[in-house]
Symmetry: D2
């Protein structure tokens, strides 16, 4: 029976002086397997990852864990509690509009400087010293800045501080109304098939503020910096964002399946012992991030979503129909929006009312099988 | 081919000076059948009624309409356009919090005064003169008040002004996540079975501000006032609120079914000619409004809704399970909320995150078959 | 030196499982003076009352308190923490739109029933037994209801439970942009002049859900019920709502003045000993609640507020000018809204952008000097 | 008398099918003076710029305008009408959280490519051809994209399309609670003193999505690209953001002063004839953008803002005091936040309730006199 330690970490303080904290569950690895950090629910409405952490904990209890595993459900207590009407408006800071998953820290000059200053370190020394360097940089710029830092930056920095100790980071999200999909850094392409996730988006080494990028960008750019010096090292850390279906939806049964998927990845990476968990056989599609396209509503109106997730839609195939009840009797009272090119729909907007310019669907184009 | 007239009515003005208006579709009756007013989408997220009006118009084109029919989709342009995150936060005025469907006008002294002052009128004169009296009262108090009136009152008053001309008023709503259900005034109990709606809530003659109440309360209380004087008259006007399923959801196909349901009612009431539309055979359940109970969350947490709509749940039967991921390892990490008494679930909350005191389910208790 | 006890009371639980609580400060009376309950900040943006409680505590430390005094700042932790943009959207429950200060409990049949059932009690017995009756009723209907209760009702019920133990209740609010004003029940008219507040609104015995009404309505209606039986008793409890200026504004200095005003009232009522605090000499105006009128914007646009608080504005005098920049070049690019009758402006809307129907000003009409 | 043409431009469409448009006022220049584009109210709550446009139009009527002037008040009808409680939550798209003033288009490869491809053009040809190039690029990528574009991008692109025709662009904003200040590109430093604005922030050539940057970045980077090729050209277009005080505040009188300030700039730049308008004598302070620092709340609580705008605060001088009413009786019930270094406060947060990490003040550091 694996022991699970439970603690809490204060990550925010409300105007009435009350602290908000996140639960932290920790498993100590039995040997020197890779260490893992898993969090869920950074966006308030995306709750299903919490259920996956529940099922992971249930299953890990009877596994041999070779590396340390830290699991943080309910990672954003501000977002979890931000309601506007029935819905959980927890995607962005209600004060500033800033997306909670864009507040992570990355100092882009650090990898190049480190590689320049540390040419003769061993790989192990690189790993240890660079990890310390990014931790120091985070603490100095965000956690101990004399001018303070934004609420979102403080929250992110504290989560990131835990993630920086890990070799593997999994950030559990969901789409709005969505099928399962995976964000995978290009350099870790071969590991995408270890999850039971049929749609994979491959992302480049640019930083846009998300947890996965904040985790792998320093290490990936470090690898590139050494490569530019003529030395080949591995990217020493990897991170994935798992999108586990739709927001505002909880299912313990579906979460069990997703926990199996995560465990098959963890087992393949040597975090847990044995061979009990294997990825399911399925057709997996991938595309590059630049080919993962949002289609914005060309007209306002009331929307019926027509295209099922996962199907290949040919160019010109129907995606949505829009009802314009202010125009009854005119030809265009019901209009249709079609696919601009061959694509696979992955998610769609969560409301039946759209403005011109609302994101209707996100689709994979120029996709390929993995 | 029935002619459909199209006009627009300005109901609000935005801060930048732009008017917001509603589309108004009108069919002139071929003879003296009852006149009808149908509106949809008073709450911004409840869009399906628009599709029902679309299908009604499509079908009415080839019917003989004996009475006038006025149809107003998109009845609340402020609510339709009030977004907060993806969702349409159009249930209440964002400035004041006032529920848009509680802003209608009713002067409760009017029926008693009218009955006292007009003892010797014929029934036809009562109908005509009392209609004029409530119209005058509305205009004086809301539309032409020297102090003005609230935004919600102005919107409601203009819709109500149109509804006051009708003998039958149907207000098309939806629940959050919901099965079809019908609000029916107790005095019109026998007409509940004319709709294809399995769950019916019978409401008393009290006024709580909604369109259906604002329509029938004056006439019902007038009937009561004459009755108190020893004269029996009919309630001369009737109104229903139809809840057509879930919010933020549009389906032209489901709307076709609901338009058939409305047409079967209208045909039975002599608004359209013939016998083409008949109510479907189904088991219909009813309960009194006081027995339509909301169950509030006894604990906060992440919710999986277990009870299907329409099934009879016995006392103690499971309604939801709540995941408390901050308590993993404790016995009550997953708790269950059970039915306090035998009931039929009709709708549930639209989010998987709830606070203590959030409305989880609304259920019919002490129900009976119609 | 008066001892101040400090405790906290849990009043809500967030979706992530964290409890929200309010601080409770208690002073034990040295003898049998009236007991007092003072709360502040039930509406999230109305923070100044907290500063007044701060100054009261500072001053009470060196007073002889004859009755118990309970002070609850930050009374609504949900509202205090509900941001939308920079502002504290804490006036209504973000899920339901319900005004936080309308969720208190009052069972209107209780006073009449109690008076009927308890004709022969002494005044002291009436006070003690009726207090217990309303406490029991509150607990049964709100705190221990098998169907639960709404979030706002649970919060209110817990505050109300504390207030029910007191003979005097002061609820500290502010307006939007506002001068100081006082809501005073008609029966306590003579006590209005004990506060340093120039504008007084006299309210009738109807219940509309606010804390002051929830406090005095049971006792006032009890007095009326006994009176109907031919027995004259006093209204045994009194409650006031103090509006301390504008929302989103904190001033420790202004709070000191308001604490003096409250202390002069408390001293006059025998809660604190001595004669140190006297009401300031000022012209005080009063009007009946029905004559406290809201003026709604007749047009949308950008507003410059012209009428200063506290001045008498004659009929036709200017209240606001509205800029309509979409109409430059037309005569009505700048319009003016004038007083429909002689009045004293007490507060105005907090934004420069208004819709048709937005409350521009609240004004006293048919006012008189106290 | 200068003729003012009035038209309207549709910039968005609501879910109920209604178009939202902006008013456009145009003055044709009498000769070949620089052309000017002035807009106001891109953020919904920042209304004072509309009043300044009103006063500009009033004054321009009697001036000789040498260049074309286009004035667009109420530039963001979506933001103007986005209320949340009393306040105008019009800073970011309520659906996505995206700041309305970050949605402008800039293709950063364009200047370098253009300079490479057009080495031998005359200065006039550069101005004409590059202007066409950025217009074409905008239309292709935003206005005519087969995938559509975001609501905010569509709004911005249409405003930007008008601004691209001008040589001078002024974007009128306000702070939250704020003194007047000016964002000025470093290359136009000498023109900062032409406005009656005491605080100037000098911004570099990086693009962050705002209107001023979207206007000058292409031209500034074009100048840099030619310079890298050894050819010196001027930056041919200039743009400023004027912050005119506080949001949610309208004053026609203050607007008159600001219109004089704008006219003194326009006269100096040859847009209007004569010498009637001269900048006022005042001490003007400037700092580089990197030295314009936000101070974030180190603690949550209720805030009293202490530091007046425009004063020099020494290191350690008091900026705010924070009241923590949950800690009465403890030493830190009232805490103070002090200046981390010598600075001039320019604006502060608009609410008295702050979380840890809320922006309290923005201050100029390392400032200098102009």
């Amino acid at each position: 029976m694996t022991a699970i330690e439970h603690s809490t970490l204060e990550v925010a303080v409300l105007a009435n002086g009350q602290a908000l904290s996140v639960p932290v569950y920790r498993i100590r690895g039995e040997s020197d397997g890779p260490s893992v950090y898993i969090q869920a629910n950074m966006h308030g409405a995306e709750v299903q990852g919490n259920a996956v952490i529940f099922q992971l904990l249930e299953q890990l209890k009877s596994q041999h864990c070779l590396g340390d595993i830290t699991l943080v459900p309910l990672a954003n207590p501000i977002g979890s509690n931000q309601k506007s009407g029935e819905f959980t408006l927890g995607r962005f800071d209600p004060i500033t509009g800033e997306n909670w998953n864009r507040g992570y820290h990355f100092n882009k000059s650090l990898p190049v400087e480190f590689a320049a200053d540390n040419k003769h370190l061993t790989n192990d020394e690189i790993k240890q010293n660079f990890r310390q360097a990014i931790i120091d940089d985070l603490e100095q710029n965000k956690l101990n800045n004399p001018y303070g830092a934004k609420t979102s930056q403080l929250l992110c920095a504290q989560l990131q501080r835990m993630a920086f100790d890990a070799d593997i980071v999994l950030d559990l999200h969901t789409g709005p109304i969505s099928s399962r999909h995976l964000y995978c850094p290009e350099y870790a392409k071969d590991r995408a098939i270890l999850f039971d996730i049929a749609h994979v988006l491959f992302i480049p080494s640019d930083f846009d503020g998300a947890m996965d990028e904040a985790t792998f960008c320093p290490w990936w750019q470090l690898q590139q910096a050494y490569q530019a010096q003529g030395r080949d090292i591995e990217v020493m850390v990897e991170a994935f964002t798992l999108e586990l279906g739709s927001q505002e939806w909880l299912s313990l049964e579906a979460a069990k399946e997703d926990s199996n998927s995560v465990l098959s990845y963890l087992q393949a990476r040597g975090v847990i012992d044995g061979e009990a968990f294997q990825p399911r056989k399925m057709i997996r599609y991938g595309c590059m991030l630049e080919n993962y396209r949002a289609l914005y509503a060309p007209q306002s109106g009331l929307v019926e979503y027509l295209a099922p997730f996962g199907d290949v839609i040919e160019e010109g195939g129907p995606l949505v129909q829009i009802l314009h009840m202010e125009r009854y009797g005119e030809l265009d009272c019901v209009t249709q929006v079609n696919a601009p090119q061959r694509c696979i729909p992955v998610l769609h907007f969560a409301s039946a009312s759209v403005n011109r310019g609302t994101e209707l669907y996100k689709v994979m184009t120029n996709f390929f099988t993995l």
